[in-house]
């Protein structure tokens, strides 16, 4: 059956008339997909309305409900979800959805306890307690989505601990504290790769690689770039960034070929080079130009050099990616 783009090609070649187009597109469209799409859209809208209505109903009456009853409602919902999960087939979507509901409600319960008994505790404690509380059924669930939920809670706890405790108490400076937090998604990625290599197929979806990978890479990139622009020079984040790029290149080019992961590494490296170039230009113009040079001259030199540098780096990156893609294509062929 011709595809949608084939239909447009036939129209551009003048073989199909404009009046035939809608019928031709209707004939080639995937009817099963679109029926399912319409069905699911209706289902999603219905569920969203109903759930939002229930949440609003409780929100309206929330102040009139005694604290113990609030805890009881949420605890009962968690118990019901976990009991439901016990009686459904393991790894079935319903089983995993029920465990996910229990995980989210555990956080809501802790938040409500914090609201009723205002202890002045830091927010990181709530997230840390939440991560500990949901760990048992996350371990039991063997679901990538559950692990993603747990990792997000643990990452938030670490991020808050870093900003609320480590930096204010001067245990580490801001950049090093951020670098430490970035290790969480990095460890998650390493754990995922080891688990998949050992045959845990339930973690095999590509998003379980890209989500922690991009988070770790993005976080380390921000830290390394901040170190470049920081007034007091700090080489550690830049070295860590370089090591992560090198390790990533080795793993995703040599051990397991993954073009998307390689492209992310190249992009991160390229963007870092552009940022570093920016910083170098900034320092060099201050050094070269006399102190009485006008602001316009400074800006002119900076914009010109940055434009040329950015185009040059991006051009080289594009060529490198093209080369890798052709290499991968030849290997596949």
């Amino acid at each position: 059956m011709p595809s949608t783009s084939d239909i447009h090609t036939l129209r551009e070649a003048g073989l199909l008339s404009s009046r035939q187009m809608v019928s031709a597109l209707w004939r080639t469209r995937d009817h099963r997909f679109w029926n399912l799409w319409a069905n699911r859209l209706l289902l999603a809208m219905g569920c969203a309305h109903l759930l939002a209505g229930i949440v609003f109903f409780f929100a309206f009456n929330w102040n009139d409900i005694p604290p113990m009853a609030r805890f009881a409602i949420l605890a009962a919902a968690i118990t019901a979800s976990l009991t439901g999960a016990l009686f459904t087939r393991r790894h079935a979507p319903v089983h995993q959805a029920l465990l996910m509901v229990a995980s989210v409600l555990a956080g809501v319960l802790l938040a409500v306890i914090g609201q009723v008994y205002q202890t002045g505790a830091d927010a990181y404690e709530l997230f840390a307690a939440w991560a500990v509380l949901i760990l048992p059924w996350t371990l039991a669930g063997r679901s990538a989505a559950l692990w993603a939920c747990w990792a997000a809670v643990a990452y938030t706890a670490a991020l808050l601990y870093s900003t609320q405790v480590i930096v204010p108490l001067a245990l580490l400076n801001r950049i090093d504290a951020h670098l430490l937090t970035a290790t969480i998604p990095l460890f998650a990625l390493v754990g995922r790769e080891i688990a998949v290599a050992r045959g845990n197929a339930w973690l095999g979806d590509s998003w379980t690689r890209y989500l922690p990978g991009l988070l770790a890479l993005g976080h380390i990139w921000v830290t390394a770039t901040s170190a470049v622009f920081d007034r007091s020079p700090n080489a550690v984040p830049i070295l860590v960034f370089a090591c992560v790029l090198a390790a990533g290149w080795y793993v995703y080019r040599k051990r397991m070929v993954d073009f998307a992961a390689t492209a992310a590494l190249i992009a991160a490296g390229g963007l870092f080079l552009i940022a570093a170039g920016w910083r170098a230009v900034d320092a060099a113009t201050d050094l070269i130009l006399a102190s009485d040079a006008t602001t316009s001259t400074h800006l002119l030199l900076k914009f010109g050099t940055i434009a040329v540098w950015s185009i040059g780096v991006a051009g080289v990156l594009a060529k490198l990616l093209n080369k890798i893609r052709h290499q991968d294509g030849r290997k596949t062929a």
Binding site: V22, L25, W37, L42, G46, A59, A307, I311
Partner: protein, 345 residues
């Protein structure tokens, strides 16, 4: 009989000519980079284009003196031409992105400078329109043509809004009709970037217009919004009719009558942009267009949330309304799921 043979027989095409056209298109189609590489390179190309513009603005600021806007307009045109002559085949991924970024950035700079120099948004709209027409002739980059059309529409709507604010919702809703026609009865030349810009501009511009501080309010504006709703409902009903002509079962046809009634109801409840999003969803369903489906779902979701948020009633009434609406939608889903399992169209 192969798929292509049966297709050609059904539409009265010569099979050898169709096969030749498809082969020729496949041969000319160079393998492209995945979307994430294209997006990353597009980001870098835009940074480079903005740095070039920054360089030119400073240069002009240093040398042009009093006629800065006129010189900037000229520089915008030169950057546009430079972007236009860059090679933009699929094999030059970065150059193709730079072609789009420099062309669009130059076009924006030229339109903005000329508009400000002439002190009228019509001059900006005319500049954008002329440059988009040149781009249509000289470029085959879909992103460039999409952005050029979007700029022309945005500047034209700005000009209409300054000239007569109450005309803006009307003009905006009318844009959707050529957009839909370009996809349903397309010309020989690929006009999809134009159609997409026209179709997406309507709900987005109508959303901006919801801000009463921008265009003001009053009976004229209310009337204009109701006329806009009417135009968009008319378009939606036409699309329902086109779908109804093609479905096979009586049950599906009856369901589409219910849908048509629901469309009129939704148009009365939601702002005009909600009707535009509904038309997008119907067009996506008719043509099997996934991009429009995603845009329609996101926009319609936004308008539904906004409707309940702005509803001037207590949280209790809102919760009951939401639960009732949810129950009706789920009942409809259950009925549709039971009666129209698969292959009903």
């Amino acid at each position: 009989m192969s798929d292509l043979s049966s297709f050609c027989a059904e539409f009265g095409l010569e099979e050898s000519a169709a096969a030749e056209a498809l082969e020729k298109a496949n041969a000319a189609h160079a393998p492209t980079m995945p979307w994430y590489v294209q997006s990353g390179l597009a980001g870098m190309a835009w940074l480079a284009a903005l740095a070039i513009i920054g360089f030119c603005v400073v240069l002009v600021g240093m040398s042009a003196g009093s006629d800065m806007l006129g010189t900037l307009g000229l520089i915008g045109v030169l950057i546009f031409i430079a972007g236009l002559i860059l090679p933009h085949g699929a094999e030059n991924t970065f150059k193709a992105q730079l072609h789009t970024a420099m062309g669009s950035a130059g076009m924006t700079l030229a339109a903005a400078s000329i508009g400000m120099e002439a002190d009228t948004a019509w001059a900006a709209a005319l500049t954008a329109a002329v440059l988009t027409a040149i781009a249509l002739k000289a470029s085959a980059a879909n992103g460039f043509l999409f952005l050029g059309t979007l700029l022309t529409i945005a500047t034209s709507l700005l000009a209409v809004a300054i000239w007569e604010p109450a005309m803006t919702p009307l003009a905006t809703s009318l844009l959707m009709i050529p957009g839909a026609l370009l996809l349903i009865i397309p010309p020989r030349r690929d006009a999809r970037p134009l159609a997409h810009a026209l179709l997406l501009c309507t709900p987005l511009a109508l959303t901006v217009m919801e801000n009463r501080h921008l265009l003001g309010s009053g009976p004229d504006m209310e009337l204009a919004e109701w006329i806009a709703r009417g135009i968009l409902v008319g378009l939606s009903l036409w699309l329902v009719w086109l779908i109804r002509q093609r479905v096979a079962t009586t049950r599906a046809r009856n369901f589409l009558i219910l849908l048509a009634i629901a469309i009129v109801g939704i148009a009365c409840l939601l702002p005009p942009a909600g009707s535009a999003a509904m038309a997008l969803l119907l067009l996506a369903f008719l043509l099997g267009h996934r991009l429009l489906a995603i845009a329609g779902v996101l926009l319609q979701g936004y308008f539904i949330v906004r409707y309940y948020y702005l509803l001037d009633t207590s949280l209790l009434i809102k919760s009951l309304l939401l639960m009732a609406a949810g129950a009706v939608l789920l009942a409809l889903w259950a009925a549709l799921h039971r009666k129209m399992p698969e292959g009903t169209t």
